[in-house]
């Protein structure tokens, strides 16, 4: 394979466990990023390009990625049904639920039930149910990042909470965290490459997660990317990656602003709520000293109280559902920027080595070493993976924010509706009373 030949597809380092345990076989592996390993069931379904050229990949995930590429781009229908996917048929379903507290002499912690349903052959059984704690998710994420450094790994909710400031065992905190963990796992499961990662498999299926086991599962690409030599300076970053970096910076900034605004609104709403409660109480107190006006005044006090309750619901929703998602995206962006930086490093190394090799060739006709070609492959592989993941991330981001903001609008609408209903029923009551009074007057 000559350096510079276009490579195909967005799939890297897919290995079955059996392959990985034989690192010596790496030397014989072609430079193609696609795995040589074929999965027998899929062989018949091997797709080809329109002109009949067979494809060199055979992992089901990359096949379906190609398929979706050949389909209409950005199909809105697909988005609506499958907000995380890109139109692929789903064969791996995961859920995180059922939080439980575990108390031991050493520590207290929460575990969550992770349920899996799948038809994939990588899994021995069609269903699994295991219990995992946050540490386990953290382990998984690190493993995914390490073994698939060219891909964007979704973020986890924040690890550290200040004890004493936040109650780690409160229902709201646990619920918020659980939703974020569920989202994380779903995003991973929907990713065409990450979902086949053996660490994920272990996470979903192993009775006891032996985290030390992970070391042996490092992929070849992962290793090579990890060992990128530092000290190379990047000449020219391709425009699209520049654009990505700029976009991420600005987007992150906007998200930060929105977070601050949302928090400020919550603060102001809380103060408003305090004053509103006192306000309602004055009406009640006044009602006590009136006769005819007692019911109307009590009525107003009641409406104010209802509005207070509705406002509390709104604020709770915003702090539990809205803010965490914003923060999650900020974390997501941070990890994406890291991936971009790594890509830069890989490209820099390639350019550096290439330059050195070219110079040497000019001097003493030494041919360009294979390592340099390998570097080029790495770069192109990385770029391709990143581009595909970027597209996917943009689609998901659009869906997520559409959902998030629509949710915010809905919650506000619900608040006003509740309040309006209370006041309307009061008016009916008071107007009835008015007609009662009038008729008793004329009688």
């Amino acid at each position: 394979m000559s350096v510079g030949a276009p490579r195909g597809l967005a799939s890297s380092g897919q290995k079955l466990i059996t392959e990985i345990l034989h690192p010596l076989s790496a030397a014989e592996e072609p430079l193609s990023p696609g795995p040589d390993v074929t999965i027998s069931a899929e062989k018949d379904k091997e797709p080809g390009l329109a002109n009949g050229t067979p494809l060199e990949i055979s992992s089901p995930a990359s096949a379906s990625v190609l398929l979706s590429r050949l389909q209409l781009d950005g199909d809105p229908e697909a988005d609506a049904h499958d907000p995380f996917g890109s139109g692929e048929p789903r064969d791996l379903f995961v859920t995180v639920d059922d939080p439980k507290k575990h108390v031991s002499t050493m520590e207290t912690y929460i575990t969550y039930r992770v349920s899996t349903k799948t038809t994939r052959i990588e899994f021995d059984l069609p269903e699994y149910s295991v219990r995992r704690r946050y540490q386990d998710f953290d382990w998984l994420r690190i493993k995914l990042e390490d073994s698939q450094p060219t891909h964007l790994v979704p973020p986890l909710p924040e690890k550290f909470v200040m004890k004493g400031v936040v109650d780690r065992f409160s229902e709201e905190f646990v619920d918020t965290r659980m939703k974020a963990l569920d989202k994380f796992l779903k995003r991973v499961a929907d990713h065409p490459v990450l979902s086949f990662n053996p660490h994920l498999n272990a996470f979903l299926t192993a009775k006891d997660l032996n985290k030390r086991q992970g070391l042996a599962l490092l992929t070849k690409v992962g290793e090579s990317v990890k060992n990128v030599a530092g000290g190379y300076k990047l000449r020219a970053r391709p425009a699209e990656f520049c654009a990505m970096g700029e976009y991420l910076d600005m987007f992150s900034q906007k998200l930060g602003t929105i977070d601050r605004i949302a928090q400020r609104i919550l603060r102001e709403q809380s103060e408003y709520l305090t004053e509103l409660r006192e306000y309602g109480a004055v009406y009640s107190a006044w009602a006590g000293s009136e006769e005819q006006l007692q019911r109307p005044l009590e009525g107003v006090a009641g409406c104010v109280t209802t509005s207070c309750g509705a406002l509390e619901d709104l604020s709770d929703n915003m702090s539990q559902d809205f803010l965490p998602v914003l923060r999650e995206y900020v974390l997501y962006i941070e990890s994406m920027k890291n991936v971009l930086r790594k890509r830069d490093q890989v490209q820099a190394e390639y350019e550096g080595r290439l330059e050195a090799a070219v110079l040497r060739k000019q001097e003493d006709r030494t041919p360009i070493p294979v390592e340099v070609e390998k570097c080029q492959d790495k770069v192109e592989c990385f770029n391709a993976d990143l581009k595909a993941d970027w597209e996917r991330w943009q689609r998901n981001k659009r869906q997520d924010f559409k959902q998030l903001l629509t949710g915010m609008a809905d919650k506000n609408i619900s608040y006003y509706e509740k309040s309006q209903a209370a006041w309307e029923s009061l008016i009916t009551l008071l107007q009835e009373k008015q007609t009662e009074d009038k008729t008793s007057e004329t009688n």
Binding site: E271, W286, P296, A409, I413, W423
Partner: protein, 433 residues
Amino acid sequence: MAEDVKEESVTSNDESDLVASDGSLNNKMLTEGSCLLRRMEICVAEAEKRSGKNAVSMQETYTVYLVETRPMDTIAEGRNPPPDSLWRRYSEFELLRNYLIVTYPYIVVPPLPEKRAEFVWHKLSADNMDPDFVERRRIGLENFLLRVASHPVLSNNEMLYHFLSKEHGWKEMLYETGFQAKADSRLRALSATFRVRSPHKRLVEIKHYSDGLQSHTSQLLRARTRVADRLYAVYKVHGNYGRVFSEWSAIEKEMGDGLQSAGHHMDAYAASVDDILEEEEHYADQLKEYLSYAEAVRAVCRKHELSQFELEMASQDLISKKQQREELATGIVRTFSLKGMTNKLFGQEAPEQREAKLSLLEELIAEGEETVKEKTAECNEHAEKAWADIIHFKDQKDKDLQEALINYAFMQITMCKKGIQVWNNAKECFLKM
């Protein structure tokens, strides 16, 4: 209270036979219970700024209000004559009100709109010259005139009529009545409250009620101010969403339009709070009216206590004089007295002196009995009339405040509807993202 509806107009300009001894109009066509408002359309139409030199020759700016009146019968006949009008300052309204308070001590005199802006939520101006304040004051002054002119007793007052019709010289006429001398000193009134022995039970209850009314309405007004401040903040912060959505839309491709439009709706949301709170000021004004009314009710109760106190003093005086007479007549000293002591020490007086003293005492006692009779009648009359007017006030208060609460509920519903509309608009934009 049955009111005869008489569509008479006051035609006579000769004031001398118009006025009865208690200051009420003595027009033969007038009967007890008809009121000025039936005969005359009254409104406070406009407000204007004026500049002039005040009493101490300093330049001042003040606001005058146009009081327009039209006789009802001409309107009924279908003619539409231009109204008679004159300009009055707030201080002149105050003067009129003080006159009415002194002249009718047993009537709950309707209050004026506040002298200075109070219970102000921070964005609202506390400036008396602020156009919104002036407008609300205009409405309050009109309300005052309408209430006075529809009151069965107050509407008959001659000074009221002159206030409405005689631009110049009205003040002088008012001062000539000498009402200011009749105004009670607050100290006297206050001491009477503490020293009165048998106050009118029902009026004492009313006084406690008015204290409660005052306390509750002022608490409510304060709480409302705080709520308004907070609500304002909540709405305005949402305006920041408008800005950030706009900035964000610039870096997005497909999401850009939806975000941009949604941002505009957030701006609209933030702006909507100004109208909402301005509307609520009218509700606050209604509460303020009854806050002042509570003061007026208490004034009536206090006046009665003063009357009662004076009656008790007069009775006490009469009793002691009668005792003196008895002592003088019988020579028996019942109670300790200086006279008795000196008698013991220096011997009793000569019979002629005693006779003189006795006859003087008899005169004084006769006078005293008259006084007590008058004061008792006055007190009872005062109590009766006060009670009647207070019942009238209570009914009016119940109706007015119920109306006010219903209007407040409508305001809240409007606010909710606006909120729903804006967020629905924003939601549509988000769905198009």
